[in-house]
C-alpha cells in the first residue's frame, strides 16, 4: 500500500515537471511567433524602402543619361533632354545591344518623355515590364526639351515607372 502511494507520488512529481516544461515551451513558442511576426513586418518595410530607393536610383540615372542630355561644346545642360537624341533612342530601343545595356541600369521599369508645351509627341525610350506585377511607383519630373534644328526649348515631363 505504502509502495503504491510512493510510486503515485513519483508519477505526480514527474507529471508536474512535464507540465512545467510543456507550459515553458508553449510560452517560448508564443514568444517566437510574436518575434517572427515583428521581424516579418520589418522585412516587408525594408523591402518597400529598398524598392523606393531603387526607384530614386533609376530616376537619378535617367536624369543624368549622357545619351539623352542636352550638351553644348560637351557642357551638359541641367534637366534638359535633346529631342533628336530622344527620337533616336526611342527608335533604337529594340536594338539588342542597347536593350542589354539599359536592362542593367533600369531593370524592370518604363521611361517615357512627354512633350507638354507646345503639345507634342510622347517618346518611350525604355520599357521592360515584368510579366506580372503587384505595384508600380511613378515619378514625374519636369524637364526641358531642346530642338537642335529649331534652336528652341520646349516643356516636357519625364515619367519614370518602376515595377514591383
Amino acid at each position: 500500500m505504502k509502495l503504491a502511494m510512493q510510486s503515485r507520488k513519483s508519477q505526480l512529481k514527474m507529471g508536474e515537471t512535464v507540465a512545467i516544461l510543456f507550459i515553458f515551451f508553449i510560452l517560448l513558442t508564443i514568444g517566437a511567433v510574436f518575434y517572427f511576426n515583428i521581424k516579418r513586418a520589418s522585412v516587408t518595410r525594408e523591402g518597400s524602402e529598398q524598392f523606393e530607393l531603387k526607384a530614386v536610383e533609376i530616376t537619378q540615372s535617367i536624369s543624368f543619361l549622357p545619351e539623352a542630355q542636352c550638351t553644348e561644346s560637351n557642357v551638359v545642360k541641367a534637366s534638359c533632354f535633346d529631342l533628336y537624341k530622344l527620337i533616336a533612342l526611342a527608335s533604337l530601343k529594340n536594338d539588342p545591344k542597347i536593350v542589354r545595356t539599359y536592362e542593367r541600369e533600369f531593370g524592370q521599369s518604363a521611361l517615357t518623355i512627354r512633350q507638354v508645351y507646345p503639345p507634342g509627341a510622347n517618346y518611350t525610350i525604355y520599357e521592360n515590364p515584368p510579366p506580372q506585377f503587384n505595384d508600380a511607383s511613378t515619378t514625374n519630373i519636369p524637364i526641358s526639351l531642346y530642338n537642335a534644328t529649331a534652336d528652341r526649348y520646349y516643356f516636357g515631363v519625364l515619367e519614370v515607372k518602376v515595377y514591383r
Binding site: 509502495l3 543624368f64 560637351n74 537624341k85 533616336a88 533604337l92 542593367r104 537642335a148
Partner: protein, 357 residues
C-alpha cells in the same frame, strides 16, 4: 523481521533510482534548453552580421550612385571598419554582394579600413559616354616611377598632378625604387613608366617584401599598359599588354590591380560607347533631313561604311559603332575617329550648324 528490512531497502533503492532518474531528466532537458538558446544566439549573431553587411552594402550603393553623378569630384567617405571586395560587375562585403549594374568602377581587389576615397571623371569619346568611378583607400600607396625619357617624365608629372591630393602616392626616380621604404602600408601599387616590352619584370623593393604589392608598366609612346601581380617574392606579368585610349582609361588601369577586372570594366565602357555612338549617328541622320543641300548636310550624313553601305550616317560615328562591336576593340582606330569627330565639330561651329556634341 527480514521481510520488513527487505521492504525498507527496496523502498530506499526505489527512492535513490527515482532521484537519479530525476537528475538525469533535468540534465537532459537543461542541456536541450541551453543548446536551444545557444543555437538562437549563434543564429542571431550570424543574422546581425549579415544585416550589418547588407546595411553597409546599401549605403555604399547610394554613395557610389551619388559619386557617379557628381563628375570631377573627389570624396573622402568614412565607412564602418570593413573589407570590401570589388569586381567588375559586383562588390562584396563578406558574403553579401551588390550589383554594380552599368557603373564603370575601377578599384583594387580589396578595399580595407574605415575610409574610402571616390573620384569621378567624365569619359568623353569625344562626347560624354559615361563617368568613370575610381575607388581606393588611404591604405593603398601608389609609387610612380618614371624612366629618364622625356615622355615618361611628362606623363609621370601629369599623373601626379591630376590625381587628387589625398591619394597616397609619391614620385620616385627609377634608380631610387629599390630603396623605397615601408610606411606601414597594406598595399603598394608600383607604376613604372617605360617602354614595352619591359627588359625585365619590375622587382619589389626589399622593404616591401611582406606587403601586398602589384605593378603596372605604362608605355606612353605605344599607349599600352602591362599588369604585374605578386607571385611569391617576384612580380610576374599577367597576359599581354593592353592598349589604353585616354587618361581616364589609364587611371582605370592604375587603380585596378587585376588585368581581368580592368578588361571587363573597359568592355562595359566600350558597350556604352557603342550605344551612345548609335544614338548620335541616328540623331544626325534625322537632323540632316532639315539641312538638305546646305553646307551642314555632309557633316551629318555620308555614305555608309564599306561593310554596311546601306547604313548612311556620319562616317566617324558609324566607325565608332563598328569598332566597338568587334572584339577585341581596336583602340588605336577609336582614337582616329575621336580626333575626326572633334575636327568635324569645329567645322560645324564655323558653318553655324548644330554641333555634334
Amino acid at each position: 523481521m527480514v521481510n520488513k528490512h527487505l521492504r525498507r531497502r527496496l523502498r530506499k533503492k526505489a527512492q535513490e533510482t527515482e532521484q537519479q532518474f530525476n537528475w538525469i531528466f533535468i540534465l537532459i532537458i537543461g542541456a536541450l534548453i541551453l543548446a536551444f538558446f545557444a543555437y538562437i544566439v549563434l543564429k542571431q549573431k550570424a543574422a546581425s552580421e549579415i544585416k550589418l553587411a547588407v546595411t553597409i552594402a546599401k549605403q555604399l550603393n547610394t554613395i557610389l550612385t551619388g559619386a557617379k553623378l557628381s563628375s570631377g569630384t573627389f570624396q573622402d567617405i568614412p565607412i564602418p571598419e570593413t573589407t570590401i571586395r570589388f569586381a567588375c560587375n559586383d562588390y562584396f562585403i563578406g558574403d553579401v554582394g551588390q550589383r554594380l549594374g552599368n557603373r564603370i568602377l575601377f578599384a583594387p581587389n580589396f578595399v580595407e579600413g574605415n575610409r574610402i576615397f571616390t573620384w569621378t571623371l567624365d569619359w568623353n569619346v569625344p562626347f560624354k559616354v559615361s563617368s568613370f568611378l575610381y575607388v581606393t583607400t588611404p591604405f593603398v600607396r601608389y609609387v610612380i616611377v618614371p624612366s629618364v625619357a622625356d615622355e615618361s617624365q611628362l606623363l609621370a608629372k601629369r599623373l601626379n598632378s591630376t590625381l587628387p591630393a589625398k591619394i597616397n602616392r609619391e614620385l620616385v626616380a627609377d634608380v631610387d625604387l629599390p630603396n623605397v621604404a615601408n610606411l606601414n602600408d597594406k598595399r603598394v601599387r608600383i607604376v613604372i613608366i617605360q617602354g614595352l616590352p619591359a627588359v625585365s619584370a619590375p622587382s619589389i623593393p626589399q622593404a616591401l617584401a611582406n606587403v601586398e604589392a602589384s605593378a603596372l608598366v605604362i608605355d606612353p609612346a605605344q599607349r599600352k599598359v602591362q599588369f604585374y601581380e605578386k607571385l611569391g617574392a617576384v612580380l610576374a606579368p599577367v597576359g599581354a599588354p593592353i592598349d589604353y585610349l585616354d587618361d581616364e582609361s589609364l587611371f582605370g588601369a592604375l587603380f585596378t590591380e587585376s588585368r581581368e577586372e580592368y578588361e571587363c570594366s573597359m568592355n562595359k565602357a566600350y558597350d556604352r560607347l557603342n550605344s551612345a555612338s548609335k544614338i548620335y549617328a541616328k540623331k544626325f541622320v534625322l537632323i540632316s533631313n532639315n539641312y538638305v543641300g546646305t553646307a551642314c548636310e555632309g557633316f551629318y550624313k555620308g555614305p555608309g561604311l564599306v561593310e554596311s553601305p546601306e547604313q548612311q550616317g556620319n562616317q566617324d560615328l558609324l566607325s565608332l559603332v563598328a569598332l566597338t562591336t568587334a572584339t577585341p576593340v581596336d583602340v588605336q582606330k577609336i582614337s582616329e575617329s575621336v580626333q575626326n569627330l572633334i575636327n568635324t565639330n569645329t567645322k560645324l561651329q564655323l558653318n553655324s550648324c548644330p554641333l555634334l556634341f
